[in-house]
Symmetry: C3
Subunit: 338 residues, 3 copies
């Protein structure tokens, strides 16, 4: 996916040569080629630099347009022919460093001096409470209420008839019509990604967005992180309770229910009409089908087929879980002496 | 309970006839009767419209003053005689639609243009930090500190010697004396209620309040939702840690302790002096007696008698839980070959 | 540890006699001695009043400089000789009352009238967004971005090249360089401590700080409480995800990872390079060695040696936990008839 310049200011292209100098990597290919963007290997297009972690080039899907990759020595030979490489000892770290030289999130400045930026487009029929901050390039549609001390970040687009609660904040995001954020919701923060660097842990930069479709409701103090290179997407009429965490690159379908303390890890997909009880956790990359129910407190580590009901930690079909609970309870009572 | 017009602006009464036209329901009774309020079936009084979900009219308690109900065809015949009905296919959805036509939460506007509304009554001995927003009709008592960027919603009443932390927000709530909210606490947001509608999920509107009695302390980023038609009540000297979730219509007694990540679902009642360890969850409608202890991480689905100590998920008396843990641990070690 | 007057305004010393009058305690020693500070018994120095709870004086470590203690009748005789005492029925409650008479947290007022206090030192190369509040005596270093509606409390010191997210708040804290707080993070609130008083529960006052070392990242809506009399310390390059709770007096080492919903209770210590999966909870006073991994959803109640991997609730070495899960699952399937 191409980096959305409404949210990330381009700082100018880098040649492979310059990128190599910046990171200590070696160029394998035409050193005058220009890097103009960053992306994941399965979506990168012309001028967009991807990276391959470790030696798993064999398992990665490559986009047809892939031209530029940061890669480790081990995986280099497995790349498709004709791809120009930066060969680095820590490919992801080098990629992050180059990415930061190419783009700067607009919410890191420069700052407007006015609470409502003159470059924001706020519909005359919107209601703006005192203390709300609407940054440069943002847009707010007709009938939408921006609550007291809410923050609409640079470039954020909000549709009609929405409601942004007191003190909520929105960054790097596109919101449809009739979207409700309760107080303190945090939309579009950087996801949790940690890269080992030479001096210890580093944060993985994020260049994606959050998409909240029409009629989505997000609970108080709930967090929806933006994607790394892709979008985090919450489907139409999906309803999320208070104090939930939806990680980067997650895709929730339509009319999904997530009860309080729900935690959905990175890149999880959840089908339409599924229901997550209170305090459900889903491990990263898990795929949950349509119409699935997960009992409260479940910790899910595996894919679930459509229509099933699971529970427990690690989660399993609900009957198996119930049977285990009942059996254990009975055994512990009757076999104390074992 | 009658809707508190300090928080919800009345938009004018509707006749049953007009309400039927709005929702596609049929009138069974005097179509000229006026609906002036909304309530639950067990509290509705003169002019207040209640609703009966599904066909469970048999199990619902009716208030003596009940006059007006939205009901499905199936349950209609089981209502007390003399009650005027709107007969709808989706009674709760129809009720919500009518409720929204009768009342508008004042926090949805119109907005004041000043951070401290001229119609707010702020005691001269209160301390108001920069960035605090105090909306129309709100009141702040002597010696209370309103922290930077905190938000006091329309009509909210706060007693004396309280402290509202930075960025906290309060809506549709009455706070006693010596109430402390730490930073980012969210009091009085809409609870999590989802109604199936013709196009997918819809939010259930909330017309209740939050009551925080004297000496209550609410932790940072904790959320206390307001009731649907009733009040969410936190009793005197109850202390709630950070990042907790207290749902709509909950009643906590006096000197209750709720440790971090505590989750109390809708309509739960907890007796005086009970203690919830870290990450305890309680399912909706559960009744917990006085002086109960729930071990950290418990997930409680059943009522607990006064004075008991429970643990585990699903929670049970602590000795049973301990015995199961010990038995399982021993068995798994000694019977590996089974 | 001596109370840091950048965060707590001294209200003047009290003699033992005056403190006794305030609390109803009896003086055992020179009643004209002056109390100028408060501390824990293991760190108290000249003029600093400590307390001993219950009758456990035998187990408490005493600082060499300890001079002044509030103690119950039962434990009095076990104190080292030469220590002046206030003898009280509820020592901790009496100590809290005296502490409140000695110091007042500066964030409780008086308030500045300007959003950026004239007494704050803000580097000309810092970026300050609209709505940010920077209180008296605070400092913000070069290149640091203070997001919209963020709150920097009185006396807070923030280093260079940091980033404070929208609506985040910081109290009683010292932040190094390159520290990132995502939106809504709550640094330095009062920890959760509850004291039984004559009328019910009371809050334990806190006089410590939070220290965030260089390159620390704190997730959205995460809370880091300040210490009671000591510091809560987050080591260099430690990365904490969204919606985590780090309690008072916790010390996390360097490059520790805490995933979403992590809960670290009071006085826990975690060694360098340890990793806490999602929704891990650690009970208070537990010591976790370096390089430990805790599986997602673990509830840890015991110390863990360096390099180990644990899981489950209550947590145990991961192989034991896995074995129990597998054994239970098999038994419940094959022995249904038992």
């Amino acid at each position: 996916m191409t980096v959305d310049t409404r949210f990330y200011a381009p700082l100018g292209a880098l040649t492979l040569e310059a990128a190599a100098a910046l990171t200590g990597a070696a160029v394998d290919g035409d050193a005058t080629l220009e890097i103009t963007g960053v992306a994941s290997a399965d979506t990168a297009g012309k001028g967009e630099l991807a990276f391959i972690e470790g030696d798993n080039a064999g398992q990665v899907e490559f986009s047809a347009g892939l031209e530029l990759v940061v890669v480790g020595e081990a995986a280099r030979s497995r790349l498709p022919v004709g791809i120009a490489c930066l060969v680095a000892r820590q490919p992801r770290q080098a990629h992050s460093k180059i990415a930061r030289a190419l783009f700067k999130p607009r919410y890191l400045g420069p700052a407007d001096s006015l609470a409502i930026s003159p470059s924001a487009r706020v519909h005359s029929g919107a209601v703006i409470y005192p203390g709300a901050v609407i940054c440069s390039g943002a847009a707010v549609g007709e009938g939408t209420v921006i609550g007291p001390n809410a923050v609409i970040g640079p470039g954020v687009q909000i549709g009609r008839h929405g409601s942004i609660g007191a003190g909520a904040s929105v960054n790097c995001a596109l919101l449809g019509d009739f979207v409700t954020l309760l107080a303190g919701a945090r939309i579009g923060e950087t996801g949790f990604g940690v890269i080992p660097g030479p001096d210890g842990l580093e944060d993985a930069p994020h260049f994606g967005r959050v998409i909240l479709q029409d009629h989505v409701t997000i609970g108080a103090n709930t967090c929806i992180d933006r994607g790394v290179f892709a979008d985090t997407i919450i489907g139409e009429r999906t309803k999320i309770d208070n104090l939930c965490q939806i990680a980067h690159n997650v895709v929730l379908g339509r009319s999904v229910i997530v009860a309080a303390f729900g935690g959905v890890s990175g890149s999880v997909r959840v089908g339409d009409g599924s229901r997550l009880g209170g305090r459900v956790g889903i491990a990263d990359h898990v795929v949950v089908g349509e119409g699935v129910s997960l009992a409260g407190s479940s910790g899910l580590f595996r894919d679930v087929a459509p229509g099933e009901t699971w529970g427990g930690t690690p989660a399993k079909p609900i009957r198996e879980w119930m049977r285990e609970i009942a059996w254990l309870s009975k055994q512990a009572k009757t076999r104390k002496k074992d």
